[in-house]
């Protein structure tokens, strides 16, 4: 307890939980009361954001070097394992707190417009509030188990919201896929937790990170295994190779959900976890290289798939995977602040992109709905020229596009540049990072290209929607464009929080996070780049962004594009990219099918039906019947016989007792 406003921290998750309970009750009592649901759903989030701002301001005035931990109750007191339900306020969790509640509030407001006509309105807001509650538990938890509760909870909400329109099998399947892929990662998280307890004797963040440097051999097998298992958890939650395939399918959910859960907050939990465990990762150079390598590879790989997707949300989904790869490249390099910086700016511009695409889909859907057409409202080949009808959305989407492409001085430029610079600096001592840096650079080029492609095909050139539909296009209502404007401002100005010294900035976020990242940073080799090198790196990064945008502008011809119905099949390499490198098919052939075969042919038809059912259950029944049949001659039903047996028995006992 600090006797300041920081003590109010419990209010933030409690408010979100309250929203869930009230909206959940309304689902059963009065699902049509949309005004009340909107006020509760968005209101609790805005209140939670206010609490977060107050906590953040008070906490920054404390100048605390150590985290403030609030223990509310003892949760698992088992022998030497003492797990409390405890929340932790420190520099990292307050940043996450602001991002989650801030971006969350905007997306809740947007949802009021987007979901207006949905019959499941109350259920939607109940799930969304529950998600925010679990996300806050995740970022505020003071030990691994509490964090894990949040980690699982957000996974549950993600499943519920991906399959929100569960009457269509595709959506339900997508939800299931996300859930199962995440379970694989969670297995890694749990094993890592057991190993951490086994080697340090605690699961509290403060104790573990204080004891780890002495309890574990640096670069030893134990710490490498722990960090790799933790990272397996991250690849599941944050959609990295090899567990990323669920995220593109997760686009089956409502678009604001994609913005909140599958772009801005939940998927960044893995980055947060690595940053939180920076001490552990700093002690394990192999794991750090794996984290960076997987991140860099994912960034490039996902960006290449995004080049050839036609579904507007799928482009953004692969873009998210790619940008998450950047964050892992950053945190794996040891540049925790850079990773969290990119996490924050990405939350702004990717939420903006998703909400913008939501407003496009909203308009497309209305147009098709008015003419009773069953064309795909998310296919970019059916769009084109929307800038004339939706000027606000177009302008804001362009801002986000320039930000994600890394055009100075927008927010994405600073964060991406810092990650690439950190990777290059690490490369001066360990050449493998130079390769990662090259991957990141190539991904930056592709990012600029596919984002410009998305903008050109959606908003420019001729319209391909159809004559009748065109009359129904209109800009989204203010409740939807309002949050977009706020996110647009943040996407432009978000870089302010961490302007590097190169541009005579004060690197605020870097200094702010120092109490958290210092312990890990001291374990890493010192890297330093001269100002001249940094200028060259900045130049190269900007050149890549410019090349990507200019290249897309020159190469792509929206004028000649055919609508989805008449579009020809891609050929050659484009076809491979269109089919996502056939990764889903490979997984299906190598893992899913053998597993299904094993389950049906061996486990079901042999083990379950023959061994357990036939031999086990029916066998026991048959055995009991045979035993009864053998013994039934004892039961004659004649009372005299029973008495005789009884008397003989008594006589025998007396004889034994006396004799």
């Amino acid at each position: 307890m600090t006797d300041t406003a920081v003590d109010l921290i419990w209010l933030a998750p409690a408010l979100a939980l309250l929203g869930f309970v009230l909206n959940g009750a309304l689902v059963f009592i009065r699902p049509a009361a949309k005004t009340v649901v909107s006020i509760i759903g968005a209101g609790v989030l805005i209140a939670a954001f206010a609490v977060s701002v107050v906590v953040f301001r008070t906490f920054s005035e404390l100048h605390a070097e150590a985290p403030v931990v609030f223990r509310y109750w003892s949760w698992m007191p088992v022998g030497t394992l003492q797990v409390d339900f405890a929340l932790q306020v420190d520099q990292l969790s307050t940043v996450m707190l602001l991002v989650v509640t801030g971006v969350g509030s905007l997306i809740h407001l947007f949802s009021i417009g987007y979901m207006k006509e949905d019959p499941g309105y109350a259920r939607y807001f109940a799930y969304l509030n529950l998600f925010v509650f679990f996300m806050l538990v995740l970022v505020l938890g003071a030990n691994f188990p509490v964090m894990f509760v949040g980690w699982e909870g957000v996974g549950l909400c993600s499943y519920l919201l991906i399959g929100f329109w569960f009457t269509e099998k595709v959506n339900a399947d997508a939800g299931r896929k996300a859930f199962i892929m995440n379970r694989i990662g969670d297995f890694g998280f749990m094993v890592a937790m057991f190993m951490i307890f086994w080697s340090t004797g605690s699961l509290d963040f403060t104790t573990v990170f204080a004891h780890a440097p002495t309890a574990l051999v640096p670069a030893g097998g134990a710490i490498t295994a722990i960090t790799l298992f933790l990272f397996l958890g991250c690849t599941g939650k944050s959609a990295q190779i090899p567990l990323y395939t669920w995220l593109p399918d997760a686009m089956a959910g409502p678009t604001p959900v994609s913005a909140l859960i599958h772009a801005a907050t939940m998927v960044t939990a893995g980055v947060y976890l690595v940053a939180r465990c920076n001490v552990l990762f700093a002690m394990a150079p192999i794991s750090s290289a794996v984290v960076s390598g997987v991140g860099a590879l994912t960034a490039l790989f996902a960006a290449s798939i995004a080049l050839k997707q036609w579904d507007i949300k799928r482009v953004l989904a692969y873009s998210t995977i790619s940008q998450l790869g950047y964050m892992f490249l950053g945190v794996g390099t040891g540049a925790m602040a850079a990773g969290i910086f990119h996490l924050t700016t990405h939350a702004f511009f990717k939420a903006l992109l998703f909400l913008g695409s939501g407003s496009v889909i909203y308009a497309m859907h209305h147009a098709y709905h008015a003419t009773h057409s069953d064309e795909d409202a998310q296919d970019m080949r059916n769009m084109g020229g929307l800038a004339r009808y939706m000027p606000w959305t177009t302008a804001l989407m362009w801002i986000a596009t320039l930000a994600i492409a890394g055009v100075p001085p927008l927010s994405g430029f600073f964060s991406k540049d810092e990650i690439l610079a950190a990777a290059f600096a690490r490369g001066t001592t360990n050449p493998v990072w130079l390769l990662f840096w090259l991957f990141g650079l190539a991904a930056a080029l592709l990012t600029a290209f596919y984002m410009t492609r998305l903008m050109l095909y959606t908003f420019h050139g001729p319209n391909r929607t159809g004559e009748k539909e065109r009359e129904h296009f209109h800009e989204a209502p203010w409740i939807m464009t309002g949050p977009l404007v706020v996110l647009g401002v943040l996407s432009v100005a978000g870089g302010i929080i961490n302007i590097p010294e190169l541009f005579s900035g004060n690197v605020w976020l870097h200094h702010w996070l120092e109490p958290v990242t210092q312990a890990g940073a001291t374990l890493l080799p010192e890297t330093h780049l001269s100002h001249a090198t940094e200028w060259v790196l900045v130049g190269v990064a900007v050149l890549m962004a410019a090349l990507g945008i200019a290249g897309a502008w020159r190469l792509l011809k929206p004028e000649t594009l055919a609508a989805a119905r008449q579009a020809p099949e891609e050929r050659g390499f484009a076809r491979i990219l269109r089919n996502k490198w056939y990764v889903d098919e490979i997984y299906d052939a190598l893992i899913v099918r053998p597993l299904v075969w094993l389950s049906t042919e061996v486990l079901w038809k042999r083990v379950d039906q023959r061994v357990i059912d036939s031999a086990g259950v029916n066998g026991a029944a048959r055995g009991a019947r045979a035993l009864g049949w053998a013994n039934r001659w004892l039961q004659t039903g004649q009372v005299g016989v029973y008495v005789a047996v009884f008397v003989v028995g008594v006589l025998l006992i007396i004889w034994r007792a006396v004799g």
Partner: protein
């Protein structure tokens, strides 16, 4: 009083009771044989009470009370069985077998 003759009579009575239960078929006779066994035990109690204290004699009253209750219930059951089967022979009472 002589202890040994009393115990001997008691043993004879008890054996007669057991033999009757084992050999007779009529439920009422078997019932009487059970009473005979109880009274054989009562005789033993009374006989031994002169050596071992009053406990035995008090116990006899308990046995009598229980035997009275048992007679009431038992005769009622036999009566019910007779109404149902027009017989009190134990040979006909083997419904539990099947």
């Amino acid at each position: 009083m002589l202890l040994s003759p009393a115990l001997a009579i008691s043993a004879v009575l008890f054996t007669l009771g057991v033999a009757g239960v084992l050999l007779r078929r009529n439920a009422i006779v078997i019932f009487m044989c059970v009473e005979l066994m109880l009274n054989a035990v009562n005789l033993t109690f009374v006989a031994l009470a002169q050596r071992l204290g009053m406990g035995g004699q008090i116990f006899v009253f308990l046995v009598m009370a229980v035997a009275a209750a048992e007679a009431g219930v038992g005769l009622a059951i036999i009566l019910a069985v007779f109404r149902h089967k027009q017989s009190v022979s134990l040979q006909n009472m083997n419904l539990l077998k099947d």
